[in-house]
Amino acid sequence: MKKILSVSLVRGLLWEIIGSGVGVAFVVLVRLLMRLPAWKAEPAVVVGALFGALFFLGGTGVMDAWFQWATGNETGEPEPFVEGVTGWRRYLSVSFDHKVIGVQYLALSLLLFTIGGTFALIFRTELAQPGLQFLTPIEYNTLMSLHGIVMIIGILIGISAFMNYLVPMMIGASDMAFPRLNAFSFWIAVPAGIILLSSLAFGGFDTGWTGYPPLSVRAPLGMQMFFLGVSLASFSSILSALNLLVSVVRLRAKGMTPFRLPIFVWAAIATSIISLTATQLIGLAFQMTMLERLLGMGFFDPLKGGNPVLFEHLFWFYSHPAVYVFVLPGLGIISELLPVFARKPLYGYKWVAMSSLGIALTGFLVWGHHMFASGMAEYLRVPFMYSTLLVAVPTGVKFFSWTATIWRGKISFPTPMLFVLGGIVIFLLGGLSGPPNATVSTDLLLNNTYYIVGHFHDTLFGGYVFPFFAAIFYWFPKMSGKRLNEKLGKTQFWLMFPGLLILTLDMMRVGLLGMRRRVDDYDPALGFQAYHVVMTISGFIIALGALVFFINVWLTLKRGEKVPGNLWESRSPEWQVPSPMPVHNYAKPIEVVGEPYDYGLPGSQYVRFAGEGSND
């Protein structure tokens, strides 16, 4: 019993239950004091869930050191692990080691992907035939909406996994600038996910992940769980970004000037600039809608003088830059790995670095392209079209650079490279399907059709999912000292790559022909059924690839091939020390003495350990 309770996750969950009860009781008490009927479901459930999340955090113990400091006690350096927790249970407990936190984020991300993906398989099965076979409209809308938001949060969590795991190592630091904040950022995502998924138990919601009022103001109680879950998850994103930016500014190794950073760090910087700032707007938009539901505040209610389009502006001001958060790290992974497998410098490193910043900054100026048909002010449409099309320029710089990087290289094709190349192809399709959406008049056909769904599945798979798998296959030895099985990896790739291509090409085809998105049924006379069958089958093929991946991970952890050294012969700092990565990363600090990607230059060195002789 004591052993079970020593695990932070378990304590957190127990306290979450207690906290929910306290929250509900609090609402009942306040209502009685205000001489209102004691029980009203919506405020009770919302406040209960919020208290639940706070008590969860307290219960895990992740804030203990902060409470100690507040009461004036000395707090030492954060310890990697909680006392008395051993083995795999360590990963379910609070740790302040960025590598452990990175793995925790990774596990949570994979869990969310599995859940979100399962939702998709369920409603794709429903959609294979016209008519409603086994889902009611509200069930369909809830599963479809949750698929969207669970995948989005899964991506954000996965990105935190990459950035937290890799960046300290890549800059030669022993950890992030704020290890306890790092742990907090992870642990707040857990109750956020629970609250989000609990919407299923509270009647679901029928608005899509975009949650537009007035529909979201009338939606069932599950809508509040969606709003609250996302608001809480947003703090994870924001605080993680803060930590990353401070770490890169303050903890770089000696000699690591800005243009000697590994390129992934540039991607992480650009991503974090967005996450730190824009994320607050989706929290605000959702909280305003929560207040409209709870207190009748008429922000978006036309009958009270409110403006539904204001919600769209606030929402998309985050949600557009958010998509660059989703893809910039993955594009950074592609830039990071191509030189290793082509044994050639990253072509135009400075331009690639600046292109990440360019995409991030331009990305703040384009949100209106989601609103071309919304009835927003007419004079805004053309400027947003110009700004949106402009994003193609820094994105193009990356594609041209990648092509030039492999030109005249000496290229090998282990699994990580396959996923990198597959990512490039898919992201190219996603990117090229963009300009018709960016152009107002053509977008009037495409908006809210399956074409858009195809576009963003391509950009997300190409910019995130495939690079994500590339990164896992590439750094798995660094995390565990073992190498994932190549045969299974290639099988996974050759399932997911064609599966995804067929899925998204299909989607774009029916979308162009006028198939609307977010519908639980369609008229058989439209002639789209065959496409839907193909889409459903493709979805299952992708899922099969995911299954192969999980089998691969399981088998490898149990009895995989041990690889303690620099498996990929990478110049990057983390590969100059043994695998798995030592606890505090670098026993001897590293110094930067050359360029990061000088493959093919005899005698060149990127980093060396302090105290080693130089080669002059």
Binding site: L242, L251, L291, M297, L314
Partner: protein
């Protein structure tokens, strides 16, 4: 150790005087000219003064006296950067609320009591003066003065909360559900008041630790952080006050 000049206390008084004068000018401009660009400009100047002289934003750009990563001063500068990034992020919430106010109410403003508005704003401004005094005193080693100033800051913060939540919210001729002015007024003042409350709690923790002698001239990051956070809340109000009370015609 962050260099603090001996005349820093006097500078604090001077800046407060400037802020008070500017607030008076602002009020006069609102009554007699009612032109929003000028009011916006005054708010920007006030905010600039607070950010430079009270929040010491220039410290972010000064070189590290000690390059040793393990040294206290290095970590102090790292903490400072973290705090400012946090404030930058938090600022976006208030920015979003301002944008919403402009979108929903344009050049109209909610029907509010001007004297009350001026009163609570003044209370907050004075509290910022004392917050600055607290930090400056601590940096100069005067723990007693720091504790007195922190306590006054807390008191004034509570007075502000009482003034807004206790008085203004009751006296307002509209409720939260009464149209856009209700929605905007209660959400803007509500989000801001929540931050004032957390500021008061933070200050109380600092006061307690001050009293127990946990801070020194060299090491008083907690005091600095609480005070900078307090000034941030004041800067937000520097923009919210004209946005709610001064700009535009009655709704």
């Amino acid at each position: 150790m962050t260099e603090v000049k001996p005349n820093a206390l006097r500078l604090g008084v001077l800046i407060f005087a400037a802020l008070a004068v500017l607030t008076g000018v602002e009020f006069a401009v609102a009554i007699f000219l009612n032109t929003w660009p000028l009011l916006a400009l005054i708010a920007v100047i006030k905010a600039g003064l607070v950010m430079y002289y009270y929040m010491h934003i220039s410290r972010l750009f000064s070189a590290d006296p000690n390059p040793d990563r393990e040294s206290y001063t290095y970590k102090l500068a790292t903490n400072r950067l973290g705090l400012w990034f946090f404030l930058l992020s938090d600022g976006f919430i208030f920015g979003g609320l301002l944008v919403s106010r402009i979108n929903l109410m344009g050049l109209t403003r909610p029907e509010l009591n001007q004297l009350l508005g001026l009163a609570v704003s003044s209370v907050l401004l004075v509290s910022s003066f004392f917050a600055n005094r607290a930090e400056t005193s601590m940096a100069l080693g005067d723990r007693r003065q720091a504790l007195v100033s922190v306590s006054i800051t807390i008191l004034l913060g509570l007075v502000f909360l009482a003034g807004v939540l206790g008085v203004e919210w009751r006296l307002a001729p509209f409720g939260p559900a009464d149209g856009v002015q209700g929605a905007i007024f209660y959400s803007m003042t509500g989000f801001h008041a929540f931050h004032v409350l957390t500021g008061v709690i933070f200050m109380t923790i600092i006061a307690r630790n001050l009293w127990r002698g946990r801070f020194s001239t060299e090491k008083h990051w907690g005091v600095e952080a609480a005070v900078v956070y307090w000034h941030f809340i004041d800067v937000v109000w520097i923009f919210f006050y004209p946005a709610l009370y001064l700009i535009g015609t009655l709704h």
